[in-house]
């Protein structure tokens, strides 16, 4: 999600979206400005993707998202360098690479040689204590001078209603359950106090409500775009086009810029649909990509268009923007907690994940599913099982999404054979 000109789209000369180009340019300007602000003495926070950025937005504390940084590093083919720095400190380079790559920046003797001038040294890190390793990684970082790690708990529930995507916008209390909501709400109230104390900035309730409203507006535009793409034949765009237009603004949610570009992305999709534009002329198969983005080889997603007429119309990035973020309600802190108290369950924990993928596959008229299985994401078997039970063919490919070393040379050939033998018959 780092630059907008993807290797795939430039080499094939496919005209990419204006919003993608704008989001890419904006990202560079934003990052340069962030570096200036931090150099001038403002606090800097590094946040994991699944924590409430909205609080930092409200308090105008500059922040960057760890997963965005890791995807930029991967796109620049630099993951190996940062993993090597981690390894040299004696830590494993084969464990939770998405976060380890970012930790590598802390150990870089020449941080300014990193992508885009390098990641500034954070003052504050916020991540959730999910898995066995995430908290350890950020805690290690928090031992570096001047860095404070504020962990958020990662809690789980016994019984959940399946249809989270229907419940979440308004009935999130029912979907998530009060125990987790009470916990995260309390942690966030404490986080605000911690930030007020350490940064001297104020938290305005009015501003907070504005930020939350902007986020909902942005995600509503994403929802409209998702619905449009799901119905349109042929597919007006593939996932390589939509990912930067969705994800870069996602990291800026709560700003007017992000809301407005989400609207313009919808309008661009609308224009393409109205003019009958086909991402893949001669479309024969609509594919779904399950898993994180393959940041080091985005061309992969277009590799099957010419030969097979197979186009990736679905990735989680637009879909989770459409279904995963909307939260309405009168108590803004609790509504914000509801966005994140079970965020990753939406994508990785059955029955939520499995049933949602099936619902999305049906909505998009999917012909085949390519499932990236890394070591760490959860619930893969049940995802594939549910999709197959619902009649969707699934192929699993095994690799890590930021660690190039794990990607086999024969994956494209395997997918090609599967298209011929299973999907296109």
């Amino acid at each position: 999600m780092s630059d907008v000109r993807t290797p795939g789209s430039t080499s094939r000369g496919v005209k990419s979206l204006a919003t993608a180009a704008e989001a890419g340019a904006h990202q560079r300007e934003w990052f340069a400005d962030l570096r200036r602000r931090v150099a001038a003495g403002e606090p800097f926070a590094l946040l994991n993707a699944d924590v409430p950025h909205e609080i930092f937005r409200t308090m105008d504390i500059p922040y960057a998202v760890g997963q965005w940084w890791a995807s930029l590093v991967a796109a620049k083919q630099r993951s190996g360098h940062y993993l090597e720095l981690v390894r040299r400190r004696g830590y494993p380079d084969y464990s939770e690479q998405y976060n380890a790559v970012t930790l590598g920046a802390a150990f870089d003797p020449e941080p300014e040689a990193g992508p885009w001038g390098g990641l500034p040294r954070p003052d504050i890190i916020v991540g959730d204590a999910s898995g066995d390793v995430t908290r350890k990684i950020f805690d290690l970082w928090g031992r570096e001078p001047g860095v404070i790690f504020y962990p958020l708990e990662s809690a789980a529930e016994n019984e959940v209603p399946v249809n989270w995507w229907e419940l979440m916008p308004h009935r999130w209390e029912q979907a998530v359950g009060p125990a987790r909501l009470d916990l995260l709400t309390a942690e966030l109230e404490n986080l605000v106090r911690f930030l007020e104390t350490t940064t001297g900035r104020r938290f305005s309730e009015t501003r907070f409500r504005e930020v939350l409203a902007l986020v909902n507006e942005q995600e509503e535009w994403n929802r409209k775009a998702r619905d449009l793409i799901a119905r349109a034949r042929p597919a007006p765009l593939g996932v390589v086009d939509s990912i930067p237009s969705v994800m870069l603004p996602q990291w800026h949610r709560g700003t007017e810029w992000a809301r407005d570009i989400a609207r313009r992305f919808y309008e661009e999709v609308r224009e393409r649909v109205d003019s009958g534009h086909a991402a893949c002329p001669g479309e024969r198969a609509r594919l779904m990509w399950i898993g994180r983005g393959l940041w080091y080889d985005m061309g992969f997603y277009q590799r099957f268009q010419e030969e097979y007429g197979a186009v990736f119309v679905w990735s989680m990035y637009l879909a989770v923007a459409a279904d995963g973020y909307l939260r309405y309600g009168d108590d803004p802190m609790r509504a914000l907690a509801a966005r994140f108290a079970a965020f990753s369950d939406q994508l990785y924990t059955p029955p939520w994940s499995s049933e949602w993928y099936v619902k999305e596959a049906r909505l998009h008229g999917i012909d085949g599913v390519v499932h990236l299985v890394s070591d760490d994401p959860r619930g893969s078997y049940f995802t594939a099982r549910a999709l197959e039970a619902a009649g969707f063919p699934v192929i699993e490919i095994h690799a890590d999404n930021v660690d190039t070393r794990t990607f086999g040379d024969d994956v494209a050939a395997q997918v090609g054979r599967w298209l011929e033998d299973v999907v296109l018959t």
Binding site: P92, S95, K136, L140, E153, L183, P350, R385
Partner: protein, 362 residues
Amino acid sequence: MPTALAALEEAYARSGAPAGNRPDGRAPVVGYVGSDLPVELLTAAGVHALRLTGDPGSGSAPGDRYLGRGVDPAARSVLTRLLDGSFGELDRVVVSHDCEASLRLFYALRELGRVEPGAGLPEAYLVDLRHLPHRTTTRYNRRRLGEFAARLETWTGRALDLAGAVAAHDERRRLLAAAAELRRTVPARLTGRQFLAVVNAALPVAEHVALLRRLLAEAGRLEEHPGRRVFLSGSDHDTPHVYEAVESEGQVIVGEDHSFGDLAVEGPVGAGGLDALAEHHHRGGPAAHRATAGERAAYAAAAVRRCRAELFVAYCRAGDEAPAWDFPAQRAALDIPAVLLERQEYGRVDLAALRKEHPCPM
């Protein structure tokens, strides 16, 4: 009469096996997984509790399929054994959130129950205790513990005897702590393998307590175990395989930091009902999956001194990566040689690395 140690070994050999004749006929049999599961509540409910363990010697293909190969193989083995009925008839499975593998095991059980009811798995229940050292988490845990207590009362139809259960478990911990001292003497009077048996003997608490008392009374007759004194850090050992391999080479494991060994001995809960119980399990010991590298290093330094270990071995199973992140801080905190064994296969250990006279890769 066999010695207490022999009786404990015999009961340990039965751990992870079917409950056999239900002790009092009707008490539900509850299998449990997770180092921080509040077993006191199971005792208080009068259920027959069985800690579920894996088996490195039998395959784990079904568990691999449902959980994925990135998950700790011990959990994959437990799931496999649940599916093939190795634990006999269980009325319930209770899982705690002590690590990612346990959580995923719970989700797999829950989902298999939903989509493949024919698999015949017992109903699973999650006790979601968390471990950040903050009051927000304390309150959350207390709530979850209350929910679990209420659920147990629903299952059994009777009130819990919490005070009695806590007292029994505290007494067991007190005796286990004394047994741990037998291993810490020089030379050790218990091997690591024997200590695993002493701690994890599959016995009701009262019987366990009686045998531990006898063990302590018979302490003078225990053999001496000279040999290089090893502290074993890292992954949990739900079976004796790795201990047996390490000790077959003339070494003796005199301490460890996982939940089947020394960390099971920390206590007591004391009086105070559910509040004290929640705090006890919130604190827990510094297991690899919940403590920070700094906490783990501090514990290692103190524990190594206490048991007079001569070699520190950090053992990390493939699929159980957390301990590998602790090693640099642990090594820096120690003044004895320290060796890291990464990506070890379940139930196996790379002995060649331990045979070297200077084992540390420096």
